[in-house]
Amino acid sequence: MAGVSFREVVKTFGKTRVLHGISLDITDGEFVVLVGPSGCGKSTLLRMLAGLEDITGGTIAIDGRVVNDVDSKDRDIAMVFQSYALYPHMTVRDNMGFSLKLRNEKQALIDQRVATAAKILNLEPYLGRYPRELSGGQRQRVAMGRAIVRDPKVFLFDEPLSNLDAKLRVAMRTEIKALHQRLKTTTVYVTHDQIEAMTMADRIAVMNEGRIEQLGRPLELYDRPANLFVAQFIGSPAMNIFDGVVQSGAVEALGVRWPANGGASDGQRVRYGIRPEHLEPASAGIPAEVVVVEPMGAETEIVAKVGDAPITVMMRGRSNAGPGERIHLAPQAAHAHLFDAASGIRI
């Protein structure tokens, strides 16, 4: 086990700069998720840590040792790929033991390590099968088994659940988290799915256009997003955001007054953000017209119009409202977010 440290890491492909000086410290045993939209550089950063991409500038250190010029195989890492990358011509047993075989370990040790990993991952009945004879979830587990067997300092996951169906994804999410709690190996996990990030991470680094927008614990990011990008990226459904002007402690937007708390001065142009779950239908408040009602059982999502702007509301329980009906919304002032209109930074 070991910590990982990125110092001013830069990556360019030809003339295109894809990472602009990333600095990030991951402590021993921590589970850090790199999350962001496609093309934000998260996978590139992970691949640089794995040694699969050259480092243009800055340094990457594993367990205090700078690994910029160290070969992948000597970095003591294990990686789980999105496509599983299992060797199709090898059985599950051979796939899992391959790295140890390359290290010329004794067969007894290989067998013992593979057996232990197979037990942890419930793969014992499948050891003699080929990858093509396994389901998606089982293949994913073999890929994880291959990583566990090596007992590396750092686990790297590159969107490992993207190829699975929704139900299996939730199950595997739990399995990976349980695995981490059991092994306590430092883990760097890349995903574009913010729910995966929220549910699994000790800390999340939200990335956009080659930069880390915010680094923090999941609920920190949710409660106090540092800027508009993080505010909109974290949380599902996404935060409602619209332009407004601060006037005597509230925000004038969409023709109505929205309660706010924050240090904005009167007359300042801001972007007002409120999460769907912090808006509730009430007997009095901001008038809105219902457009769509989506009941989900425990919760109901309502899309309503305030002025011309669509606003998403997530309420607990059920709603009797129908399309076209007029309702009133009560925003929770304590959960309102204000961002500078020009820079998008939290006020």
Partner: protein, 278 residues
């Protein structure tokens, strides 16, 4: 009804093609089981079919057949050598170009393919000259080298296309698992490329087995020529023993047919893999 019509159309095309292909082979077969007198009788089946011609061939009991076994051994030796060497060169080249992304690899491959713009017949004389310079004329190696030269560009191209289809993550996973390029080649690349390798090996082997022009040019001694050239010698006289020529030809045609039949599964899949870029 529609299905019936579609099938009928297919049969209408298939039957003439089948006849067109099989007729010469039937002809060879007919000659080879006929006696010298009845070979040209024009009958669809000889009055007294005989296997004596084959006996004559196997016992080398004719002037043109005195080196039959030696020549078929030459054919086999040359074909296997061409198959193995072409496979070795093409596999290494495809691995280097496709997986190791060697600088300039693609250019080399394209340059090699470019040589196909020049018909092999035009290259025959320069090749003869080159082999003469190296003192290889009349050695089986001259034909092997010539055939490897002709077969390699296509073999590299097909194997490169097939290599491109292997998922890149496998290489990366192997690298992280600690594999050196050579281990990657041996333990991951070769097993996964097996169908294409069988197809290309067979292609090169059959190309050499069937070669006549270069064999005729580069080899002239009775002991060094392959059977294809030996068969050509039958036509040197006015009174050619056609029944023996055809019996020998039939024997000569059997190994390729057997090889093709054995590897037919790989041939179609392996050779078309490069046809469409996935």
């Amino acid at each position: 009804m529609n299905k019936f019509l579609r099938e009928a159309k297919l049969w209408l095309i298939a039957i003439p093609i089948l006849l067109w292909t099989l007729l010469p082979i039937y002809h060879i077969f007919l000659f080879s089981i006929s006696s010298k007198d009845s070979a040209f009788s024009g009958a669809l089946w000889p009055d007294h079919p005989t296997l004596r011609n084959f006996g004559t061939v196997f016992r080398q009991e004719h002037f043109y057949l005195h080196h039959f076994w030696e020549q078929i051994w030459n054919s086999l030796w040359i074909a296997v050598a061409v198959g193995v060497i072409t496979l070795f060169i093409a596999t290494c080249a495809a691995f280097a170009i496709s997986r190791l992304k060697v600088r300039g690899g693609r250019t080399v491959m394209n340059a090699a393919l470019f040589t196909y713009f020049i018909p092999a017949a035009f290259l025959a004389v320069p090749m003869y000259k080159a082999m003469g310079t190296y003192g290889l004329l009349n050695s089986r190696w001259s034909l092997v080298l010539a055939m490897v030269t002709l077969a390699s560009p296509y073999a590299i191209w097909v194997l490169k296309q097939a290599s491109d289809k292997l998922p890149w993550e496998l290489d990366e996973a192997a690298r992280i698992d600690g594999a050196t390029p050579l281990q990657l080649f041996r333990l991951v690349y070769l097993p996964l490329m097996m169908p294409s390798l069988v197809a290309i090996g067979t292609y090169a082997l059959l190309l050499a087995w069937n070669e006549y022009l270069y064999a005729f040019l580069l080899l002239s001694h009775e002991n060094t020529i392959p059977l294809a050239v030996g068969l050509g010698h039958f036509l040197a006289s006015d009174d050619s023993p056609w029944e023996l020529l055809m019996a020998t030809a039939l024997i000569y045609a059997l190994p390729p047919a057997a090889i093709y039949y054995a590897f037919r599964r790989y041939m179609v899949g392996g050779l078309t893999v490069g046809a469409v870029k996935g």
